[in-house]
C-alpha cells in the first residue's frame, strides 16, 4: 500500500491512453489536461483492453466495441454506459506520474440483476 511511480508525465499526451504494469498490476493512464487519471486497464462492459478500444476526445472516453462512454475526469458513465470507470489516486512528483496502489481495482461483473 503506497505511492508508486508509473511513468514520466511526458509519456502520456492529452487524448491518448497508456498502459503500464506496476508490481504486477496493470493500469491505464490518461491525461485529462489539468492532471492525470489511472484506471483498471479493461472496459467495465466486457473486459476489452481500453488501451486498444478507447477513443479519447474532450475528456470523454468511448470504448469502440459497444460505444460505452465516460467522463474521464470523474469516471462517471455517459450515454449507454451502465457502470463508471474505477479510478486510482494519482499525483505528479518530479515529472513522474505517481499512482496510489492499495489493492487492484476490479470491476464486479456479477450484478446483472439491475
Amino acid at each position: 500500500m503506497s505511492w508508486k511511480a508509473a511513468c514520466p508525465v511526458s509519456d502520456v499526451k492529452q487524448d491518448t491512453l497508456k498502459e503500464c504494469t506496476i508490481d504486477g498490476i496493470e493500469i491505464l493512464l490518461a491525461n485529462v489536461g489539468d492532471g492525470f487519471r489511472a484506471y483498471p486497464p479493461v472496459c467495465p462492459h466486457m473486459e476489452q483492453y481500453l488501451e486498444g478500444s478507447g477513443i479519447c476526445a474532450n475528456n470523454v472516453m468511448t470504448c469502440d466495441r459497444h460505444l460505452w462512454q465516460w467522463d474521464m475526469k470523474t469516471g462517471e458513465p455517459l450515454g449507454p454506459a451502465e457502470k463508471p470507470l474505477l479510478i486510482y489516486q494519482t499525483k505528479e512528483v518530479n515529472g513522474q506520474i505517481m499512482v496510489f496502489l492499495d489493492e487492484e481495482l476490479e470491476y464486479d461483473f456479477d450484478d446483472d440483476d439491475d
Binding site: 477513443i55 449507454p80 450484478d111
Partner: protein
C-alpha cells in the same frame, strides 16, 4: 454435459453436446450469452472456467489475445466441454430484443453457385427446416475439409424460409474461401449455426437509414433493403446507401440496387464509390438512377452523415479496418448518439 453460469441474481444452466461449442450450446438453449463474431476473432465471448474440463479448440484464435491462463480464460465460441462445467462470464447476460430468434444447428446443401465478379461469389444454401431471421443477421458455416466456422451475412430476406443466400469475397489465403472458389460446390453439404447478430433492421423502429458497406459488407445491407422493399418501408422513410468497391468491374448487385431505386425514386439514394478507378461514362450519365463516385467510400459517406444524426439509424458493414475508420469520426465529429450505430466487422 451440464454447463452452469452463476450470476448473483440467477444461475443459468444448459446442456452441451460433445464437441459442441459452448457459445452455440448456450444460445441454442435461449441464454443470451455475449458474442459478436462467433468465430474466434473478437474476444467478446470470454469466460472463465471455475470447474470442469474443456477442450479449448482453436489455439491461435486472435480473440484470445491477452487471455490469462492462470484464470482459465476461454472463448466460448471455440471451446467445448469435456465434463460438466461451471463458468463465469465477465459481462451482463441480457437479451438484445424480445423477438430474437433462438439459433440452432442445421445441415445445409449448396443449391446455387454463381460468380458475380472476378472475386465475389454468390451461393444459396438450403436447409431442411424453415426458419426466420432478422434482416442484417448472419450464420456461421463450416465446410467439410475446413477447420472452424466462418460468419456470412444473409443477402436475402424472407420470414419462414429454407433458403439462405450468401456472398463471399475471395481471400486467396483463406480456408473457406479457397475451398468454395476452387470448384463449383453445388450439392456440397455444409454445417450451419444461426441466425446470429445484432446489426439488424426492424421496421417498427421507424428510422431513416444511413448505410455504409465495403465490399462483401453489402450482404446484410441487401437483406435490409429487401425487407424494406417488401414492406414498403421506403414509402415514408429515407435510405442512403454508400457502397465501396475497387473498380466498375467489381460492381455486383447493380440490378437489385437499381430496382430498389426505381421503386422508391424519391426516398432511396444509392451511391457507389470506386476506390481505384473512375466511373464509366455510362455510369456518370446518371441514366440508371444510381450515383457513381470515385474515392474511398468513407470519404464520400462521412460528409453526407447528418449532423446530430436526426432520427437515423446507421449501419456499417465490411472489413474491420473500414468499420474502425468510420466509427471514430461518426461518433467524435458527427456527434451521432452511439445507440444509433449498428455494425458488423468482417474480421
Amino acid at each position: 454435459m451440464l454447463i452452469e453460469i452463476k450470476k448473483k441474481s440467477q444461475t443459468y444452466q444448459f446442456e452441451a453436446n460433445a464437441g459442441e461449442k459452448l457459445l452455440y450450446a448456450g444460445l441454442r438453449a435461449g441464454i443470451p450469452l455475449p458474442f459478436e463474431c462467433a468465430t474466434g476473432t473478437c474476444g467478446s465471448c470470454k469466460a472463465r472456467v471455475t470447474q470442469g474440463e474443456v477442450d479449448e479448440g482453436w489455439s491461435e484464435a486472435p480473440g484470445k489475445e491477452r487471455f490469462k491462463v492462470v484464470k482459465r480464460e476461454i472463448l466460448m465460441c471455440q471451446c467445448s466441454a469435456q465434463s460438466d462445467c461451471s463458468l463465469t462470464v465477465p459481462t451482463k447476460i441480457v437479451a438484445f430484443r424480445d423477438d430474437d430468434i433462438n439459433p440452432d444447428h442445421h445441415i445445409g446443401v449448396i443449391t446455387q453457385y454463381e460468380k458475380l465478379t472476378e472475386d465475389v461469389l454468390r451461393f444459396n444454401v438450403e436447409i431442411p427446416t424453415s426458419i426466420s431471421f432478422h434482416a442484417g443477421q448472419f450464420f456461421v458455416l463450416q465446410a467439410p475439409e475446413v477447420n472452424g466456422f466462418r460468419a456470412y451475412s444473409m443477402v436475402n430476406y424472407s420470414p419462414g424460409t429454407n433458403e439462405l443466400e450468401f456472398i463471399i469475397k475471395q481471400n486467396p489465403h483463406g480456408g473457406l474461401s479457397k475451398w468454395i472458389f476452387d470448384s463449383d460446390r453445388t450439392q456440397e453439404k455444409l454445417e450451419l449455426f444461426g441466425p446470429l447478430g445484432h446489426a439488424t433492421f426492424h421496421p417498427d423502429e421507424s428510422h431513416d437509414l444511413f448505410m455504409i458497406a465495403g465490399g462483401s459488407g453489402i450482404a446484410g445491407l441487401m437483406s435490409i433493403l429487401e425487407y424494406g422493399r417488401q414492406v414498403n418501408y421506403f414509402k415514408n422513410r429515407k435510405v442512403s446507401l454508400f457502397f465501396g468497391i475497387r473498380t466498375p468491374a467489381d460492381f455486383f448487385f447493380a440490378e437489385r440496387l437499381r430496382a430498389v431505386k426505381a421503386k422508391f425514386p424519391d426516398t432511396v439514394s444509392i451511391n457507389i464509390a470506386f476506390s481505384n478507378a473512375p466511373p464509366t461514362a455510362e455510369q456518370l450519365s446518371g441514366n440508371d438512377g444510381l450515383i457513381y463516385l470515385q474515392g474511398m467510400v468513407h470519404e464520400h459517406a462521412l460528409p453526407a452523415v447528418l449532423e446530430g444524426g436526426g432520427n437515423v439509424m446507421h449501419y456499417l458493414a465490411g472489413p474491420a479496418p473500414m468499420v474502425d475508420a468510420l466509427i471514430r469520426p461518426l461518433i467524435l465529429n458527427s456527434k451521432i448518439p452511439v445507440h444509433r450505430v449498428r455494425y458488423d466487422k468482417f474480421s
